[in-house]
Amino acid sequence: MTEQTSLIFGNLDWNVTPYTDLLLNPNSSTIIGAGAATILVLGAIGAVALLSWKRWWGPLFRIWLSSADAKKIGIMYIVLALIMLARGVIEGFVMRAHQATALGTLASEENGLIAPDHFAQLFSTHGTIMIFFVAMPLLIGLINFVLPQQLGARDMAFPVLNQVSLGMTAAGAALVMISLLIGKFGTGGWTMYPPYTGIDYSLGEGVDYWLWAIAISGVGSTLTGMNFAVTIFKKRAPGMHFMRMPLFCWTSLCVAIMLIYAMPALTVSSAMLLLDRYAGFHFFTNAAGGNMMNYANIFWMFGHPEVYILILPAFGVFSEISSTFSGKKLYGYTSLVIASMSIAVISFTVWLHHFFTMGQSSSVNIAFGIATMIIGVPTGVKIYDWMATMWRGRIRVTAPIVYLVGFFILFVIGGLSGIILANPSIDYQVHNSTFLVAHFHNVIIPGVLYGMLAGIHYWFPKAFGFRLSETWGRRTAYLFVGGFLFTFMPLYVLGLMGLPRRSPTFQNPDFMPLMYIAAFGGCLMLCALTSLFFTFWTSWRNRIQLAVPGGDPWNGSSLEWSSPAPVPEWNFPRIPKVRARDDWGATKRAGDPWKAPSSYVDIEMPANTYFGVILAAAAFMLGFAMIWHIWWLSIAGLLTIVGSIFWRGMRVIEPHVVPAAQVEREDRRFREQVAALTPVARIDEETERNRGVPDLTEFAG
């Protein structure tokens, strides 16, 4: 344990910022470190200034942060993810730039753009951010926004718990963010294997930043899983049988169940490592009966299902868009449901493939290797099903379809390298090499990132009332696909040539051409990121021309497309009665889909509350204080958490009631508007003629 420096400030002092490093030792590494901290500070100041200048503080709290509306919570999740994505992509680029300058000799001192310790922090934060604070919030956000609408529900089963989950995730993300400015992050990679991350070998705050960020956000994700599962089991509209649910709901159900089973393993492994570090336990050191293998074992019980938690929602998105943009029914609905569920179940039986090379017997490796390859079957079936969906369709090559096609081509290559890695005899060679790095980026970027961006593009008009620019959307997609190819294909080759992952330096000059290609790919990824933000900006500027008040800009077939865009808080004026799979498509084919309900009733919605915000602030305070050993503040944080739960639990909270008259007024206005708008044929979907009312003479898919 480090020396306690102060009762009030714990281990904090003025020398923990990167500015001290810069002053003591000015070089490219400390300049980059201090630059990153400065961007964070300026970003925070800029945000505060903007909110004050535009007088947005009130709306921010009243409309957004205190909301228990799943749609708003979903949007906030996605905003959080996009902010973290910006950091993650920039970090990835810096790592590629560093490695392109890192050629050295065995005799030379360290070299390259950044110092080895800095590089190690980068790959650790990059992995942590991308998995836990980009991919997870993106998919949880998208599910939050879409799921209740597709189920024909008004909200999640537990709206306030939903807000708490968001708060916990944001608190974890804030801890990772603040580590840029105050102190250092751990250097053990996103998996943080002990004993390297034990107190003997990693003194100080770095590993604790990771542990508290993961522990806190992990609680949020577990609660989210329960919320999704209960919502799907209990809140489906009448007639919405399981086999009538859109595929996205099915994959959300898989994800929910997996979150419930997988996240606790992560929480447990983090808690055990925390006890090792804070309280002198020996769970993960050999001395006194512990064993470091236990960490790998428990961590990957979470870690492997996590991969499919990330990817299944994207599979749901791809199911929706392949059907909608081909103007066709989804091929093989039952197959896709079975395949999704199989993936969810089998994914819990393969975690040992992450440590084929840790010395277990070959028969164990055989069992887990085969189990791993079996997952390839349902995954392959899904891809063929989507191809069959597009076959004999009328495909509009919109931005989501560009992502889908990029996914098809790249994901099968990622699948191939996965099958290669599933063979223990080959894994003995390529495990821990950049081949592995290329593999998991090859499944996660096309699988998760493309899927989520396609989903955002697809549902954006439903959230904000206007479409995103197709031109810029497609440009972004092309840049992400090209950037991926240039960045990660070289890493496959480098891995086969013997470059280990996480290498701050290497000695083989033959690696250099490929390193330059990968760094160029990193530039393209930066361009893609810029283009993504520009897409939002330029679309917002053209929001009048791109507005789709009719609410059904793609001629969709699931329930969410029956409501206005932006969709009102209560989703539906009356809870729909579901008569078919793809109910909205069936209704449109039957004619007169926008018929007003015969009567309106009062709608009860969850009242706004600051419960989640308070818990998030207290959890951040607790984590930060524990990291810096500020014990009094830790106690204060813990008491705030317990106290506010107690306080909320003791009160009777009245729902917020939307009067029937208001619902009727808004709903009638929407229906009049739809009647007044000119329907658009699919061929004109990208033009300004698309106001969200499709031409019903065309098949609705």
């Binding site: 055989i366 004999r392 495909i395 005899s425 490929l514």
Partner: protein, 305 residues
């Protein structure tokens, strides 16, 4: 597959060999052959996607397409059989291979009679090799006679590491307080590079060592040269255990500061076992001071600065 086409020709010629695609042993030979086979068979399910997607996209595009349009078509029993059946068959073939190769290439299985015993200790950031039967030890150099099986027993005296000698054998983790094994035999002479692949701190990228596969005569000469070196005792080991790369360890030992291997004679035959055993004592990181404890060692290789 795409990757392999781009392997620079220079990489093939350059020494030392660093990839299992330039095998120096039967093990690496089989591993690279297995890689190619897996790629070939998996193509059965991948090529239809790579070829079919662009075709579908072109033929059924909304603008200008004259192809057939069947919006209600959403199921075909025959197609289902193909979609599920072909991947299942491919996986059955792959699984059978996986089974046979994984058992055959199990690194714990000896590859021949009377293997040469070598013990490897991972340190931050170098490897100590002890030849208990030959009475020698080296830092960052592993010499082997071609044709003779080798049984390498590994541990570390620091955090978890993973040793990979790609042209000869796959990697296996080394962990404090535990031992793991690699069995292999060189089939041709040459120099391979070995490395640690599990990140363990700042100088991780320089934790490399040379593996020399020698003719038996050359190997005997190498052995007798190493036997002339100073003795590896506990005090010397404590210096080695400091956190330093090879050149740093050499300065700490009063040798020239170059990245060339260090040789020792007559190591204590129980050294390896005592290093494994010290992690099985108490939870105190200062246990077994004679061997430098089990906690974070001091930073070495600084005396020359």
């Amino acid at each position: 597959m795409v990757a392999l086409l781009f392997l620079p020709a220079a990489a093939m010629a350059a020494a030392p060999t660093q990839s299992f695609l330039q095998p120096m042993s039967a093990t690496a030979q089989e591993q690279s052959a297995h890689l190619m086979r897996v790629i070939a068979v998996t193509m059965i399910v991948i090529l239809p996607v790579l070829i079919g997607v662009p075709l579908i996209l072109w033929r059924y595009r909304l603008r200008g397409a004259k192809a057939k349009y069947t919006p209600e078509w959403d199921y075909s029993g025959k197609l289902e059989w193909v979609l599920w059946g072909v991947p299942v068959l491919v996986i059955i073939v792959l699984a059978a291979w996986l089974w046979s190769f994984t058992s055959r290439l199990d690194p714990y299985e000896p590859v021949g009679q009377e293997p040469l015993q070598v013990q490897a200790i991972g340190l931050d950031w170098k490897w100590v090799f002890i030849y208990p039967e030959e009475g020698i030890a080296t830092v960052d150099e592993l010499a082997l006679p071609v044709g003779r099986p080798v049984e390498l027993t590994l541990t570390t005296d620091t955090v978890m590491q993973s040793m990979l000698i790609a042209p000869l054998t796959g990697q296996i983790y080394a962990m404090p307080g535990m031992t793991t094994k690699l069995n292999f035999a060189a089939t041709r002479t040459g120099t391979a590079e070995g490395e640690n692949t599990q990140f363990n701190g700042d100088s991780f990228g320089r934790q490399k060592f040379m593996v020399k596969a020698l003719q038996p005569g050359q190997y005997a000469a190498w052995l007798s040269a190493v036997r002339d070196a100073p003795v590896l005792d506990d005090a010397t080991y404590r210096v080695l255990r400091r956190r330093s790369v090879l050149a740093g360890a050499r300065t700490d030992l009063g040798l020239s500061k170059q990245a060339i291997p260090i040789y020792f004679s007559a190591p204590d035959r129980s050294l390896f076992d005592r290093i494994v055993a010290k992690y099985q004592l108490s939870g105190d990181s200062s246990a077994v001071p004679a061997l430098g404890g089990t906690g974070l060692p001091p930073k070495g290789g600084v005396s020359s600065r």
